[in-house]
């Protein structure tokens, strides 16, 4: 039941993603991506990850806001079309080969709905589920993992977020170089 639903949603996502990439109008493309993101969030909800779903929703809104900020004033120039024909053909051929190779790997994965933890009783997740509450006192095992068992991940993730946002500020700053230097500083004069 859920499998069918998720498959449908995935097909929808594929279609929306294709539309987003092929749409000439950038704003529409961004909206299509927003649709994909929201469907992803719904999927999360369906497969027992409500915390992730809510986070995804919030982040999705932020994403769309940021992307609209990027496109809203620049939609005058719309670049449609792809790279030149030969390179494009080669690239798509390579992508197809990659896809075919990848399929073999994906077909070897455990059946959907039977996670690998049930095969490996020693797996870390089993320990979290079994002992998580006892050891950390958190009823939500997810919280126990991200704040205690794998707290370093969260710490690093904060660093990364800080780096990204702080970097965005640095990139957007008005005056970046002290001295106005000649543009041909990097030029290779022939």
């Amino acid at each position: 039941m859920i499998e069918a639903l998720i498959s449908m949603l995935l097909v929808f996502m594929i279609i929306a993603a294709t539309i987003a990439l092929e749409m000439t109008d950038l704003l529409s493309a961004v909206i299509s991506i927003g649709a994909v993101g929201i469907v992803v969030s719904i999927c999360f909800l369906l497969v027992g990850a409500p915390d992730i779903a809510s986070t995804q929703l919030v982040v999705e809104v932020l994403t769309i806001v940021i992307l609209i900020r990027a496109t809203i004033r620049h939609d005058l120039v719309t670049i449609d079309g792809d790279r030149e024909f030969f390179g494009l053909t080669v690239t798509i051929a390579l992508l197809l080969v990659f896809f075919i190779f990848g399929l073999k790997a994906f077909w070897n994965l455990p059946e959907f709905g039977v996670p690998a933890i049930s095969e490996f009783p020693d797996a870390a997740s089993n320990h979290y589920l079994l002992k998580g509450f006892e050891e950390t006192g958190s009823r939500n095992i997810l919280a126990a993992i991200i704040f205690d068992y794998r707290g370093v991940d969260t710490f690093a993730q904060l660093c990364a977020l800080f780096a990204g946002i702080w970097g965005a500020f640095a990139i957007m700053r008005v005056q970046s170089k002290k001295k106005k230097k000649k543009e041909d500083l990097y030029h290779d004069k022939k």
């Binding site: 790279r83 390179g87 690239t91 390579l94 992508l95 080969v97 990659f98 190779f101």
Partner: protein, 594 residues
């Protein structure tokens, strides 16, 4: 501490000190350099008969090292004396590099461990590079070329050492004796030969010497490419051929071939040069051919002749370069077109230059004749046993010798004889006595080593290296000597007999005009007909557009690939991403197939 450490450490430390001392204290720096060179030279003389303790096998101090080191000490001392008034700018760097070169030479020659040797070898390449750069910003390109050729051949030296290490498990020169039976061993041999050729200037790795000759300071030329580098390069060749590898017919044949080609080709190129220093540089290349042929003849006499020639060549080529330095300093130019008639104003320089020229051309009784003769003898002996083509090598060597004489006639005529060129400065006089002194010493040595060829150099220095020299053979050169002397005397008599009795010197009449400068016989045009002969024309053209220069050949090959690669680096993100996908595909294919 072993004495050898001090011998190596002293000049290097003094050299570093010279680099630090401010340049104003020029005399102090010179004093340090002179003292160190003098101490070392005396030390080498002292150790000549009683070699120092080899420090647990780290060093080897045999007769070959003796000969090379004595030469190195002597020539550094001579050049140091010469430079007293000649090097004024950046004296600290000059003497510093000179001393470091000397120290590294001692290390390279005396070390028994191949890696240790390669370390000193690398230092030598560096100091060579830095010393050429003393010639100012014009010298930067030749210095670069030199460094690439010499340093690049050092890389091959390292490859050779690595192969030897893998083959024998040892790095000690005294322990290694490789039979060339696999292509790996043969390539190790070729790697070593490549390094020694680049250092000494054997073809086809010679092109840096003519290139630097015009730009580098002349005393640097006299010190490094003309004497020390020759000593080192031939030292390495001798080590390789005598100690490290055992005789192999076809490889030694290759060496003889390269040596003979070097002799003839370089001398042909020298014939047509218009610059004194460049001409000398081509001769420096040409003479290397004799040493290579001598060592590669594989007979005791030939080897002794090659080593003797190495010593002789260093003496007279050093003298010639220093003489050219005197001319340059006093006349302001070394272009043969601008010179002329200097024999009257620079009599001492002229005489010494003449002596050295006769020596390099192989005229008895100067030293060059004897070493060349020994090399011929070696070739003849090698022909007796193995090599059927010995006659070819001898002919090529003799042709080279004759052409050497011819080109030195040109240089002497154009520089010292004839009319004084109007391009010259008004007042020309002999340089400072230190400069003259070193030239005189060298010229005298040419004569002494020639007259007492057996008693001093051969018996004392060369004979201990190559044990089985048949002294009968060497001393048996009386007959040819007599013939040559007779020939010379006959020539002189003929000259006086046939000399026109009365010469009337009349002013040139050109329709009332003053004769143009170009109308005098300048000597530079002596061999222009050769230039335009059909075969030589293509050869000279090839050499002038550098299509025979190994450096430029590889440069153009490399730039061909570079341009190709530059075209595909389009700077477009998509292209790079496509490469990534492409690489991904290849790896996937390989792994899945596997």
């Amino acid at each position: 501490m072993n004495i050898i450490y001090y011998l190596i450490g002293l000049p290097i430390a003094a050299g570093l000190a010279c680099l630090i001392i401010p340049e104003r204290a020029r005399v102090l720096i010179w004093g340090i350099a002179f003292d160190v060179c003098f101490i070392l030279f005396s030390a080498f003389l002292f150790f000549f008969s009683r070699p120092p303790d080899p420090a647990n096998g780290m060093f080897v101090w045999d007769a070959l090292a003796n000969l090379t080191l004595l030469g190195a000490g002597f020539f550094s001392l001579i050049v140091c004396v010469y430079s007293y008034k000649m090097i004024v700018e950046s004296a600290g760097r000059y003497y510093g590099y000179l001393l470091i070169t000397l120290g590294a030479t001692i290390g390279a020659v005396a070390s028994n461990n191949l890696i240790l040797m390669s370390v000193f070898w690398g230092i030598l390449a560096i100091t060579l590079y830095l010393m050429i750069n003393l010639g100012g910003s014009d010298a930067a390109y030749p210095a670069k070329k030199t460094f690439i050729m010499v340093g690049g051949s050092d890389s091959f030296l390292i490859l050779g050492i690595a192969i030897i290490w893998v083959l024998t498990g040892s790095l000690n020169i005294t322990e290694i004796r490789i039979q060339i039976d696999s292509w790996l061993a043969a390539s190790a041999f070729l790697c070593f030969v490549c390094a020694s050729f680049a250092k000494a200037g054997g073809m086809p790795l010679h092109t840096w010497i003519p290139e630097i000759s015009e730009k580098a300071p002349v005393s640097v030329m006299a010190c490094l490419p003309a004497s020390l580098d020759k000593l080192l390069g031939i030292y390495l060749l001798a080590r390789v051929c005598l100690n490290l590898f055992s005789y192999h017919e076809s490889l030694w044949f290759l060496l003889r071939l390269l040596g003979s080609i070097t002799i003839v080709a370089a001398v042909f190129l020298a014939l047509i040069q218009h610059n004194m220093k460049k001409l000398l540089a081509y001769h420096a290349v040409s003479q290397v051919g004799y040493m290579i042929v001598g060592i590669a003849s594989g007979t005791p006499v030939g080897i002794a002749g090659g080593l003797f020639h190495m010593l002789n060549h260093a003496i007279y080529k050093c003298c010639l370069f220093l003489g050219a330095g005197n001319v340059e300093k006093q006349a302001g130019s070394t272009e043969l077109d601008n010179l002329g008639g200097l024999g009257r104003v620079l009599p001492v320089t002229f005489t010494c230059f003449l002596f050295a020229s006769l020596a390099i051309s192989g005229i008895p009784p100067f030293n060059g004749f004897f070493s060349k003769w020994m090399i011929y003898q070696g070739l003849v002996e090698s022909g007796k046993s193995t090599d059927q083509s010995w006659i070819l090598w001898i002919v090529m060597a003799m042709v080279g010798s004759g052409l050497t004489l011819a080109s030195f006639m040109k240089i002497i005529h154009a520089t010292f004889l004839g009319h004084v060129s109007s391009n010259l400065k008004k007042r020309i006089f002999e340089p400072h006595w230190t400069a003259l002194f070193s030239v005189i010493v060298l010229a005298a040595l040419c004569l002494v080593f020639g007259i007492f060829y057996y008693r001093i150099p051969l018996k004392l220095m060369i004979a201990p290296i190559s044990q089985g020299i048949n002294i009968q053979n060497v001393s048996g050169m009386f007959l040819p000597l007599a013939f040559i002397v007779c020939g010379i005397i006959l020539g002189i008599i003929l000259y006086f007999v046939l000399k026109p009795r009365s010469i009337r010197i009349a002013p040139v009449f050109v329709g009332g005009e003053t004769p143009a400068e170009g109308m005098k016989v300048s000597g530079t045009d002596f061999y222009n007909p050769i230039r335009s002969a059909r075969f030589f024309k293509t050869m000279y053209r090839a050499s002038e557009n550098k299509s025979t220069d190994i450096y430029d050949v590889f440069k153009s090959i490399a730039s061909y690939f570079t341009e190709g690669l530059r075209v595909i680096h389009t700077g477009i993100l998509g292209t790079y991403l496509t490469w990534i996908l492409f690489g991904l595909m290849i790896f996937l294919y390989l792994f899945v197939k596997w």
